[in-house]
């Protein structure tokens, strides 16, 4: 039995996890901090974020305006006290990253430049070309090298959280290099494992975005919040499984066109047009396609994103990654040809319930969550472009600081051998059946696309739920072909599929129960928002037979819900 012990253990090394580690390390040199990743830190999914990060930085903007756009974008499901805190904390994060070496794009005078993304009233988005997430990740990783009390555990795959008497005690993880199950004893765990986009087939998410932290917490008794709200980013690259084509393309002036060459957004958001929030643009694209105004292609239906009028220089300077990806994956140079796009699963608005008392705190003592894995909630039913990176920085820092305070007051848990042995036994019995995890995953992806897409409806969803239950049943007889120790990705893949099945079920049943349309959750049978019955957060608790649901009121401070028009 491999045993490791740290005051604070962080799972996930994207922006939220690394920011949390740095915050905790800055709080105290004496705390030992473990940073666990199933990849290497810079291989995290945060590197895929492109367009930028929102901040009210200059005189033309205000915290109030940023908060209002966020709340309106959320379709009034965001908790307004959390949003108000959030917008105020971002400027320092942006400037700190500047001091830590982030290559922010600059205006002529050398100041940090800003552009516009959908649903914002002003140029609020700071960026580093269209590789914003990538550069923030690398800056944080590089900065993290300066703290000797941060120890990285690369390529460790977490299989369970150990919770006793409502308190976190440790976790188990497979050391991928040698296949050994390792026990981490700890006073605090911070979940920073990102979203669950891979439950769908057509997605901008990396292969690793399998909702591990959400499923781990859910199984350990922490409720998941608002999971039915899955964000479809309007512009996924069609020939490449939904690779992200940044909203910055539209922020820099790109148009969406249907097959008649029409700028169809005028029908859906006459004022903001292409810069309406993502839920609205995604629905508009799907509506065009369903009504026969999209293009048909060998990789599925699509509309066009036209950047050709922006000119070669602007595309090369502001959107180099988009150009590279379009050329490499679709054989299309956006300088001279429009890009084929359709909505792609991009972000999980819901997540681990993380405001039990304080922000980032879950109901389990010593268990915190930050970033996409968490639901605080600042995004409500629809996240605005540019608010996710900001969320990871702000709440990563909050979680790191709170974890440091908490760890300072606690003593190290004692014997966890029983929990370890139990997990070892569970894993040894796992995978002795004859069902293929790869087939189950493929069928799950197809079911989510078909039954829980941009447009939802009761009968169709009921069929989807039936399918998910069938897949869960088959999964109990899953087979692991690879019996070797080192880098057994056959085993870790099968575990991930188990995580995804649990989460898909919560998404599905939560969606069926919510009888209204709000933000990214749109029901053809209930096309209106229903504030009198549904202005509330969904909570899903794990039980053996499937999720149990409960609801929580939304915190409203300043802004009463009004009709959402753009």
């Amino acid at each position: 039995m491999e045993r490791i012990q740290h005051d604070i253990t962080i799972i996930g090394t994207g922006i939220a996890g690394m920011r949390a580690a740095i915050a905790a390390a800055e709080k105290s040199k004496d705390l030992s901090i473990a940073l666990i990743s199933k990849t290497y830190p810079i291989r995290c999914h945060s590197v895929c974020a492109e367009g930028g990060i929102n901040v009210a930085l200059r005189a033309d903007d205000s915290f109030e305006a940023h908060a209002w756009d966020t709340v309106k974008g959320s379709d009034f499901l965001a908790d307004q006290d959390a949003v108000e805190f959030f917008v105020r904390e971002i400027p320092k994060e942006i400037l700190r990253l500047d001091n830590w070496g982030c290559p922010w794009s600059r205006s002529i005078d050398g100041k940090i430049a800003q552009r516009i993304l959908g649903g914002h009233a002003v140029n609020r988005t700071v960026f580093a070309a269209d590789r914003t997430g990538f550069h923030i990740v690398h800056t944080l990783y590089e900065r993290s090298l300066r703290y000797p009390n941060i120890q990285k555990y690369n390529e460790f795959f977490v299989t369970s959280l150990i919770v006793e008497n409502g308190e976190i005690k440790g976790l188990t993880a497979i050391n991928l290099k040698n296949g050994e199950l390792t026990l981490f004893k700890t006073k605090v765990v911070i979940l920073a494992t990102g979203g669950a986009g891979r439950i769908y087939a057509f997605t901008s998410c990396s292969h690793i975005v399998t909702g591990d932290g959400m499923a781990l917490a859910y199984r350990a008794g922490v409720p998941l919040t608002d999971m039915e709200f899955i964000q479809f980013h309007p512009t996924g690259l069609v020939p490449a499984g939904g690779i992200l084509i940044s909203e910055a393309c539209r922020g820099e002036g790109g148009y969406l066109l249907n097959k008649n060459g029409e700028k169809f957004m005028k029908r859906y958001a006459p004022d903001l047009m292409e810069l309406a929030p993502r839920d609205i643009v995604s629905r508009a694209i799907m509506r065009e396609i369903l009504e026969g105004r999209g293009f048909e292609g060998e990789f599925g239906d699509y509309v066009l994103l036209d950047l050709t009028h922006l000119g070669e220089n602007k595309i090369k300077e502001r959107l180099p990654l988009i150009r590279e990806a379009s050329i490499k994956f679709a054989g299309i140079d956006p300088v001279s040809e429009p890009i084929p796009v359709r909505p792609t699963v991009h972000y999980t608005m819901g997540g681990v319930y993380a405001r039990f008392g304080g922000l980032t705190q879950t109901p389990v003592k010593g268990l915190f969550a930050a970033g996409e894995v968490a639901c605080i909630s600042i995004h409500g039913a629809n996240r605005l472009g540019g608010n996710a990176l900001a969320e990871c920085l702000v709440f990563g820092k909050v979680a790191g600081e709170r974890a440091a305070e908490y760890a300072g007051r606690r003593s190290m848990p004692l014997n966890l051998k029983a929990a370890y042995l139990e997990e070892e036994k569970r894993l040894s019995l796992f995978g002795e059946g004859d069902e293929s995890a790869y087939k189950i995953k493929k069928e799950l992806n197809a079911a989510m696309e078909r039954h829980f897409g941009v447009f939802r409806e009761e009968k169709n969803m009921r069929e989807g739920i039936k399918k998910i239950k069938e897949l869960k049943d088959r999964y109990s007889k899953v087979s692991i072909e690879d019996k070797s120790k080192a880098f057994n990705t056959d085993l870790t893949f099968a575990i991930e599929v188990g995580y995804m099945l649990d989460l898909a079920e919560v998404v599905a049943i939560g969606a069926l129960k919510r009888k209204e349309s709000r933000g990214a959750h749109y029901r053809l049978d209930y096309p209106k928002r229903d504030d009198s019955n549904w202005l509330k957060h969904t909570l899903a608790y794990y039980t053996k037979g499937g999720p149990r649901f409960d609801y929580l009121p939304v915190t409203i401070t300043k802004w009463e819900p009004v009709e959402r028009k753009y």
Binding site: Y40, R131, S206, F487
Partner: protein, 244 residues
């Protein structure tokens, strides 16, 4: 609609911890399908024990660099049909120890990156109330092209100096050092140059420039090394005269 395609044989070099061997698999390649998708197809269809790394599948996380038909490439960015061969040979990167199949040991590579102090060093390190630093677009351009190295290891795998000397820092670490030395916000150049001028440093480079040749992001580490050599020469003269 039917996609164009053809069957392609993937000939993959395997390693199970003890012995190496080759496995052949038939992949029904379609237009647009990448080598990485081919690997996933094999894993799901024929052999779940095949191990390889992958994450973003859009060329930015740096996980999936492998040798494809004798050249290091990102599997996710390489389209099968564009290779124009009926048989594709796939091997782990050279100059890295193989752990299993296509998975290689990267700890040493990252340790070398860390050794050059790849972070901004400033005299004032109090960031409680950070201030905006001014950097003109032309100052950004000086180092920006070196800042999007994805640490995939392709450069290191073809470097003749890395092949013969275990302590050689290698092209990616050098590019990182130059990226910070050339940043107008940085005040730590001399701390970095001490490492760069050390025995495993900049003078070991043979100038084969193969690193720049294979870099999937066109970073040109060889150019960074050339610029570092100039900085190093100045540094060593200054150090000799105790002027630093």
């Amino acid at each position: 609609m039917v996609k164009e395609g053809k069957d392609v044989i993937f000939r993959i070099k395997r390693f199970d911890g003890e012995k190496s061997y080759w496995s052949d698999f038939v992949v029904p390649a379609q237009k647009g399908m990448t080598v990485l998708e081919g690997l996933f197809y094999i894993k799901a269809t024929y052999d779940g024990s095949l191990s390889f790394r992958a994450s973003c599948r859009m060329g930015i996380c740096g996980s999936c660099a492998v040798k494809i038909n004798d050249r290091p490439r990102l599997a996710c960015e390489t389209q099968i049909l564009q290779l124009n061969s009926s048989k594709i040979k796939i091997e782990p990167l050279d100059n890295f120890k193989v752990l299993k199949d296509l998975v290689t040991e990267f700890e040493g590579f990252f340790a070398k990156h860390e050794a050059v102090k790849p972070y901004l060093i400033r005299k004032d390190e109090s960031y409680a109330e950070p201030v905006e630093l001014i950097q003109k677009p032309e100052e950004l351009q000086v180092y920006y092209d070196f800042s999007f190295c994805i640490k995939c290891g392709a450069c290191f795998s073809v470097c003749p100096a890395a092949a013969t000397r275990e302590d050689y820092l290698g092209p990616a670490a050098m590019a990182a050092a130059y990226r910070f030395n050339a940043d107008s916000r940085d005040e730590g150049r001399y701390f970095r140059l001490a490492t760069i001028c050390s025995d495993g440093g900049v003078w070991r480079c043979h100038f084969a420039a193969e690193c720049s040749e294979v870099c999937p992001k066109n970073i040109e580490p060889a150019k960074a090394i050339q610029k570092l050599r100039f900085q190093s020469a100045v540094y060593m003269i200054n150090r000799a005269f105790k002027r630093w």
